[in-house]
């Protein structure tokens, strides 16, 4: 067959990376070179190469979160040149490829920065606060074994699609990192909207919105002042309409 259309040219990039030894330690930027990178390397594979070099030089590799490397687990979390996940639409860091960069580029890499996400080390933060919000009410209270037949409650395709649009959130926290107030409104709004839209979740909609918003505040997330940076940075393009829905659900709960 014909040779690949992308013959491998390599690039060298300058990385300026946030390093921090622990939660209460001061952080600093360090500069590294990424060598022999091709356009087919993913961003994380590029960092893998840098880390292998660092280890060989007897230095500590850069610590960063990752797992699935296919844009679905929500583990990877880096601010690249000021933008969570690097700013390519609908793309997580692990799905970002080096063809988006050119030889000689300088790249700034930082962790998520938000009051509710303390830094654990280098680029790794603690996002346990997002779990706390779900624990406060992001569920329907069905017991195992208590469910009725899946087709006994019909759900219009429109509603199912709306719920699915909201449910696609991967819980990475980019929305929080992008928000000037460090708010988790898009994350919370998506879950509230998904469940409020479906008949199975509607029953508990009022308690849910109250307790999830309560948890949000307790965890130190800020308030929404309509910057909409969250949707712009969201790798799943979760719509800010779910924030309006969250507000409506909250008002409903107040009125009743």
């Amino acid at each position: 067959m014909s040779p690949s259309k992308n013959d491998h040219k390599t690039m060298t990039l300058k990385l300026i990376v946030w390093r921090q030894n622990g939660p209460n330690e001061p952080g600093r930027f360090e500069t590294y070179l990424a060598r022999e990178i091709t356009e087919h390397h993913s961003f994380l594979e590029m960092l893998d190469v840098v880390n292998e070099d660092l280890i060989k030089e007897g230095k500590e590799p850069i610590v960063y979160d990752h797992d699935c490397r296919e844009g679905i687990c929500g583990t990877c979390s880096q601010v690249i040149n000021g933008l969570p996940h690097g700013g390519q639409t609908r793309t997580t860091v692990c799905q970002l490829h080096m063809r988006k960069f050119k030889d000689g580029d300088t790249i700034y890499i930082e962790p998520w920065r938000a009051r509710a996400f303390p830094i654990l080390k280098d680029l790794v933060v603690d996002r346990g606060a997002l779990d706390k919000i779900i624990q406060a009410g992001g569920y329907t209270s069905v017991r195992t074994g208590a469910a009725v037949d899946g087709n006994s409650i019909l759900i219009s395709k429109e509603k199912a699609d709306y719920a699915m649009d909201a449910a696609e959130c991967i819980g990475c926290g980019a929305c929080v990192a992008a928000c000037p107030n460090g708010a988790a409104m898009l994350f919370t709004g998506a879950k509230v909207s998904q469940l409020a839209e479906l008949p199975q979740g509607k029953v508990e909609a009022m308690e849910r919105v109250n307790s999830m918003l309560g948890a949000m505040q307790e965890c130190g997330f800020g308030n929404c002042t309509n910057h909409y940076e969250c949707q712009a940075s969201c790798p799943k393009d979760i719509d800010v309409k779910f924030i309006s829905r969250l507000n409506r659900e909250y008002l409903k709960a107040l009125v009743f």
Binding site: N21, L120, V142, T144
Partner: protein, 637 residues
């Protein structure tokens, strides 16, 4: 030793009901006195922990990720099977049972498969009640699609994100129990040892991945839901953190490892682009519903794909398997792709790829319909390859994907060590030598929601709670052992990184024990792995310290375990001197290159007992008998 799977007897359709009645129950007010340690929060673990917490047990659950929601189940795309027969196309529990046993090439226990098929319908109901937004048709009814290895439409799905939605459902149920205080969660925690008291599993030793602290957790039973070991091939469709560590540590403590050689190579993955590559990305096989697979007929084809006329294309799956065509089961499709590439007709860099072409279905259905069905997959493909699958055919190649083997368990999902239960991909139970698409999600949730809540009670009802205390000698010994091995990993001061060793092991596994195996290739692997293992323990370099977040150290530990486990896999493959399902021994094939089973000699599950490093493990056999389905040659022609 001959192992007994403890299948209930009698007519198969009554076995589970009868067994449920026969099992002992724990009095409701006593349940909170029992502590259950659930390791893993994927579909199997999250559903188990949530259901056990709900029943009133005192549950602790662990995962290595920062949140239970990130377990690798999240990545499943295509869907989940159930025998609902909503489309009225001839499905039934019996047919799902039949397809699964046949798909597994007659190497699974009948009663376990029956139960799986039976509870499959409850799973869909449970998930719908949790608010899982399954795809619906315009009437508001649940929609289904067909998947490889089945002729009925029984796969429920949520866009291309079924695993994500099911896991978020289980995670939400788990979160509810965490809030209620019945379940305590330990994220960023890795299990590194199993603690036994008089041969029964009563605790685990873990490393806190943030602080590096090593600690024991004690309980009355341990439930491992730690996923599959396919990363033994280094490059696979699994997340980077997936490992054999938990099940291997249990194996070293006496739990038997069953059928490790049954490894599934998935036919539709994006081909590897370079040496540095860290993972292979799966393109859901649901794509095979609408995509046609082909390679050029000519060896020296140089025209771009779209300019190759019909007569110069070889739609080899449609040609070889006319009744299943592009939906032939995974093992068959993967081997067929390899054959075409070995024959020099592969496409793309290095010639390791075949086309998956949507041209005809776009013509027939319109691009919008294809977009509606698979847009996230096309997007993912484009991000990785920079090619537009709507315009040029995708290139795909098989990649290691799923582990049918795992710890041996009986009908109760309990291993040979009393008190040690194993669920989901970590056990070996229902898929035999080959798993059908959309059946792993079903199994994980079946085990967690509908099996363990019953079977664990039968065990606990016969034990006294609180047998192991944290200050017991068993705990101290286990902690010392784990601390010792962490120190050893850090002290080598060699030159090669854990990643380099893993790449080398992966290459050995793929070359000598991959899609096609022979006594000769396996023999070579069994020679090479111990050599690499020795080099590992001399030349390893791990940066940083043990008392901090240290990903190199975590990885080194997992590689060390793979270096031992990989050898056992090869020994199992060598012992199984037949071809069956995904296990293809080149010595055993028909004239047409299909797998040839040897039921007379190999109709058993192989359960291996660890006998120390470098020593041959001991083989125990669980004979398989088929009373409800007759052995047949698996044919998809």
């Amino acid at each position: 030793m001959i192992l007994d799977g403890k299948s209930p007897t009698g007519p198969i359709e009554n076995t589970w009901d009868k067994h449920r009645f026969d099992m002992k129950l724990v009095n409701p007010s006593n349940k909170r006195k029992y502590k259950v340690l659930v390791v893993g929060t994927g579909l199997a673990g999250a559903s188990a922990a949530a259901s056990l917490g709900e029943l009133g047990y005192n549950v602790e659950t662990f995962c290595y990720q920062d949140s239970p929601r990130r377990a690798h189940s999240i990545a499943a795309q295509g869907g989940i099977n159930a025998a609902k027969n909503y489309p009225n196309d001839g499905d039934s529990i019996r047919r799902l049972f039949y397809d699964t046993v046949k798909g597994g090439d007659f190497r699974a226990r009948e009663a376990d498969v029956w139960r799986l098929a039976q509870v499959s319908n409850n799973i869909i109901d449970q998930c719908a009640a949790q608010g899982v937004p399954f795809a619906r048709d315009y009437g508001g009814y649940l929609d289904t699609r067909s998947f490889g290895g089945a002729q009925v439409s029984r796969t429920f799905y949520a866009r291309g994100l079924t695993g994500q939605q099911l896991l978020l459902g289980a995670y939400s149920a788990l979160s509810r129990q965490i809030k209620l205080g019945t379940v305590k969660l330990y994220p960023r925690t890795e299990m590194l040892d199993l603690i036994l008291v008089d041969g029964e599993a009563k605790g685990i030793t873990i490393r806190d991945l943030v602080t590096g602290k090593i600690r024991t957790h004690v309980g009355d039973a341990v439930v491992l839901c730690t996923g599959g070991y396919i990363n033994v091939y280094n490059l696979s469709t699994n997340a980077r953190g997936c490992s054999a560590t938990a099940i291997w540590k249990a194996c070293k403590k006496g739990a038997y490892m069953a059928n490790p050689c049954y490894t599934q190579i998935h036919p539709t993955c994006i081909p590897q682009a370079g040496e540095y590559q860290s993972k292979l990305t799966l393109m859901s096989e649901s794509l095979r519903n609408d995509g046609r697979i082909w390679v050029p007929k000519k060896h020296d084809e140089t025209r771009p794909a779209n300019e190759i006329p019909e007569e110069d294309r070889d739609y080899y799956l449609e040609r070889k398997y006319p009744s299943y065509g592009n939906l032939a089961p995974r093992d068959i499709s993967s081997r067929a792709a390899k054959e075409q590439c070995d024959d020099g007709r592969g496409v793309g860099p290095g010639g390791r790829g075949v086309f998956l072409d949507f041209r005809d279905s776009i013509k027939r259905l319109g691009e919008d319909v294809i977009r509606e069905r698979y847009s996230n997959l096309f997007e993912m493909y484009e991000r990785i390859t920079d090619e537009d699958g709507y315009k040029v055919p995708m290139r795909i190649y098989p990649a290691p994907h799923y582990a049918m083997g795992g710890l041996w368990v009986d009908y109760n999902c309990m291993s040979n060590l009393p008190g040690l239960f194993v669920l989901g991909e970590a056990n070996f139970s229902v898929h035999g030598a080959n798993r059908l698409g959309a059946s792993a999600l079903m199994q994980g949730l079946a085990d967690g929601y509908f099996v363990i809540p019953y079977t664990i009670g039968d065990y606990l009802a016969q034990t006294t709670p609180g047998m192991l205390k944290e200050d017991a000698a068993e705990c101290k010994a286990s902690m010392d052992e784990v601390e010792g091995s962490v120190e050893k990993l850090l002290s080598m001061g060699g030159k090669r990184t854990p990643a380099e060793f893993m790449r080398e092991l992966g290459t050995i596994m793929w070359e000598y024990a991959g899609m096609a195996r022979s006594a000769e290739s396996l023999g070579q692997a069994i020679e090479k792995i111990p050599v690499l293992r020795e080099e590992f323990w001399e030349d390893l370099k791990v940066a940083g310290a043990g008392s901090e977040l240290n990903q190199q150290l975590e990885n080194a530990g997992r590689v060390a375990d793979f270096l031992e486990f990989g050898e056992m896999l090869c020994r199992d493959a060598l012992n199984r001197d037949e071809s069956c399902g995904a296990h293809f021994r080149v010595e055993h094939q028909t004239g047409e290159g299909e797998a040839e089973r040897d039921d007379e000699n190999f109709s058993y599950s192989a359960a291996w007992e660890y006998k120390g490093n470098g020593n041959e493990p001991e083989l125990h056999k669980e004979p398989l008998t088929f009373e409800n389905i007759h052995y047949a040659v698996r044919s998809y022609k």
